[in-house]
């Protein structure tokens, strides 16, 4: 039944079929997702023909510059559309079901229980007038996981797991009485409370210092290993993605431009943008190195018809500005949207 709803995978699409390790049907499959925002009475596509999949138990990282469409992609997948946006095309299949075709009422039991979201601005999802412990209890009760005193015990346990100090005391506080990082950990506790199949984390550790972040990454890895949960991890912090993801997808100006297993992507990035992104990571060890740094910033108001990165690409050729680039598998499991990627590797030999 699940397989029947799938479009047959086109040849050469092996990499988007999830990690070979898990085999079988991926948990999530996104095909040609396009999302528009309304700007002054006209619709503009901010996410264009994005396709990827997430295997069972797999963590997929999503990286890219501010404003490139990471949050939009992550939200649209689960019908959490932002105001003034619409899904203009494409399909999202979750465990064999077409998600975008479901009504709000049909989505209700899925959200929170099978798919949960940790949004970029966690403070906004907490109810200001309700104690944070109560908010977790309501989630647990709402999905019939546990109730009453059990739910409160479980809440305190969850708070301890996400590294909140004095969990029982914190549970009695209102959101404004917590620091930014503490609020964020409450939201993460709510998201893992029901042991979902998929957790979508949008920049979940950006408000956190390194030690808290390291502890949370350990926790997420632990939960994943134990429960086989899949994750979509949106972050601009490549160090974090390197540590936690099985595969990483990179977006630029609304399009997916490279996707590969983590080690492969970091050791042999093929798209010029990915290379710049990796080179731009500040390191404690070295003086701020400016070797292959990215030039300028994404300007959505002057995107060419061809490759979106062409205005900033050190390797661009005239046809880059006119010929649209599609993801292409240049090695098993490694896809790149740049026609010059094969010769660039030769050029960049250290």
């Amino acid at each position: 039944m699940a397989a029947g709803t799938m479009t047959p995978a086109p040849a050469g699409d092996a990499a988007t079929g999830g990690p070979a390790a898990n085999g079988g049907e991926p948990l999530v499959r996104v095909d040609d997702l396009t999302v528009d925002y309304r700007n002054d009475d006209q619709w503009v596509s901010v996410v264009k023909d994005v396709s990827f999949s997430i295997g069972r138990g797999e963590t997929l990282g999503l990286a890219g510059e501010s404003g490139c469409g990471k949050t939009t992609t992550a939200l649209a997948m689960f019908g959490y559309n932002k105001a003034g946006s619409r899904v203009a095309g494409g399909r999202v299949t979750f465990d064999g079901r077409d998600l975008l075709g479901l009504s709000d009422r049909q989505m209700q039991p899925i959200r929170g229980a099978r798919i949960s979201l940790v949004p970029q601005n966690p403070a906004s999802t907490l109810t200001p007038s309700m104690k944070v412990g109560r908010q977790v209890v309501e989630t647990l009760e709402g999905h019939g996981v546990s109730s009453g005193g059990d739910a409160m015990d479980r809440t305190v346990e969850l708070f301890g797991q996400v590294g909140l100090p004095e969990p029982a005391e914190i549970a009695r506080r209102y959101p404004h009485q917590l620091s930014g990082g503490q609020q964020q950990r409450v939201v993460i506790a709510i998201a893992i409370a029901c042991r979902p199949d998929l957790i979508v984390l949008d920049e979940p550790t950006t408000a956190l210092d390194v030690t808290t972040q390291a502890r949370l990454l350990d926790l997420l890895t632990h939960i994943k290993d134990e429960s086989g949960m899949s994750a979509l991890y949106v972050s601009h912090n490549l160090g974090v993605l390197e540590q936690i993801c099985d595969r990483v997808a990179v977006m630029y100006a609304g399009e997916l431009i490279e996707i590969a297993p983590t080690a492969e992507l970091f050791n042999r990035p093929r798209h010029p943008y990915t290379r710049g992104l990796i080179a731009a990571v500040p390191r404690v060890e070295a003086e701020h190195a400016g070797t292959e740094k990215l030039r300028g910033l994404l300007r959505r108001d002057d995107l060419p018809d061809g490759c979106g990165f062409a205005p900033r690409c050190p390797y661009s050729r005239p046809q880059c500005f006119t010929d649209p680039q599609r993801l292409d598998e240049i090695e098993p499991s490694h896809e790149v949207a740049c026609w010059r990627a094969p010769d660039l590797e030769a050029e960049a030999a250290p």
Binding site: K82, V210, T212, A214, L238, G239, A280, A286
Partner: protein, 352 residues
């Protein structure tokens, strides 16, 4: 030289909950104790044109300290001076000139932007409060401010919910810049931004400092950024300044044991000191009543001393303070060969 900002022995507590139930619970437990202060005995200075980084883990009191400098919260003890004048008073009793000169960019950009007002309004309002611009001049200044944070002019007509996280953060930065202040309190302003935008904003902050001599109190958890941007670093643990010094002093061993842990926890650096990280979560963030607050997590604690006596403030150099029972040479000894030493010492193998 008079420091731009001088913070002396500041202590800040949040008031205990005043609800009847909370008071009853406290009475029943015969709990008459004062609330644990979020910040204690904090003393540091910021000079004109200087960047002081404030680092420390979540909940350590960084935001609280910044809020008190901005006048949003009252310290119970200690004093704060700005250009020599006492500013230990709440924001509504501060003169307009002072309000202009101390700008605060919040950790969460959503809280400094009104969701129902266009960017045009937020930026315009700051300009109107402090400067008398009109017509083309005002318009140009707004466009210039947006450009400085790398946003297209079209963003002037967006509402905050129409911005991505990083874009909202940049609008908040532009708003602070609009006041042309002498001190900007930047609370985790870069953490919502990806590396390429971060790079550009850092560049902008530096340029601005070179041309206007603005000073920054820069709260951050990305130590790589701190190393690159800051002149001096203040390390906070549990509300106490456990180490402060110049960037070189902070990043070169011997460190305070907590600073060493911070340096070791940087993601993507491979091995971290799991022993200190994987400890029982319930001990994290709960400071013991006596002795050194870091003692439960410290690998180098001296039994019988650290959990009993408050650590002294040692002066490793005139610019470098460390709150610890271990002397500089003791710390140097235990930190040799530790990975913290490796991070900051010799360049990595392949770079040689």
């Amino acid at each position: 030289m008079t420091p731009l900002l001088e913070v002396t022995d500041v202590q800040i507590s949040y008031r205990p909950r005043r609800g009847l139930v909370s008071r009853l619970v406290r009475a029943l437990r015969s709990d008459t104790s004062e609330p644990v202060p979020a910040v204690r005995d904090a003393s540091f200075t910021i000079n004109p044109g200087e960047t002081v980084a404030l680092v420390g883990e979540s909940g350590s009191g960084k935001t609280t300290l910044a809020r008190s400098i901005a006048g949003l919260i009252q310290p119970q003890r200690g004093s704060m001076r700005f250009e020599g004048a006492d500013i230990t008073r709440p924001v509504h009793r501060r003169p307009a000139e002072l309000l202009r000169h101390i700008q605060y960019v919040f950790q969460n950009p959503a809280s400094s932007l009104n969701p129902r007002r266009k960017v045009r309004y937020s930026l315009g309002r700051t300009l109107d409060v402090f400067f008398n611009l009109s017509g083309a001049e005002r318009r140009d200044r707004m466009a210039e401010l947006l450009a400085s944070v790398h946003l297209d002019p079209g963003y002037i007509d967006r509402y905050p919910p129409q911005l991505s996280g990083g874009e909202a953060q940049r609008v908040a930065i532009a708003q602070a810049l609009a006041a042309e202040p002498k001190l900007i309190l930047c609370d985790e302003v870069l953490s919502a931004l990806d590396v390429s935008v971060q790079d550009n904003i850092l560049e902008l902050l530096r340029e601005l400092q070179a041309s206007t001599d603005v000073a920054y109190l820069f709260i951050a958890h990305d130590l790589a950024v701190v190393r690159w941007l800051a002149d001096r670093v203040v390390v906070l643990y549990h509300g106490r300044i456990v180490e402060q010094g110049t960037v070189e002093e902070i990043f070169t061993p011997p460190h305070h044991p907590y600073t060493a842990l911070l340096l070791d926890s940087i993601p993507g650096k491979g091995e971290h000191q799991t022993s200190a990280l994987a400890e029982d979560a319930s001990t994290v963030g709960t400071a013991p009543d006596a002795g050194c607050a870091f003692e439960p997590r410290c690998q180098h604690r001296i039994a019988g001393v650290c959990e009993v006596d408050d650590p002294p403030r040692l002066h490793d150099s005139p610019t470098h303070d460390v709150l610890c029972h271990l002397s500089a040479s003791d710390r140097a000894q235990v930190q040799i060969g530790s990975s913290a030493g490796a991070v900051t010492g010799a360049p990595p193998e392949e770079a040689r």
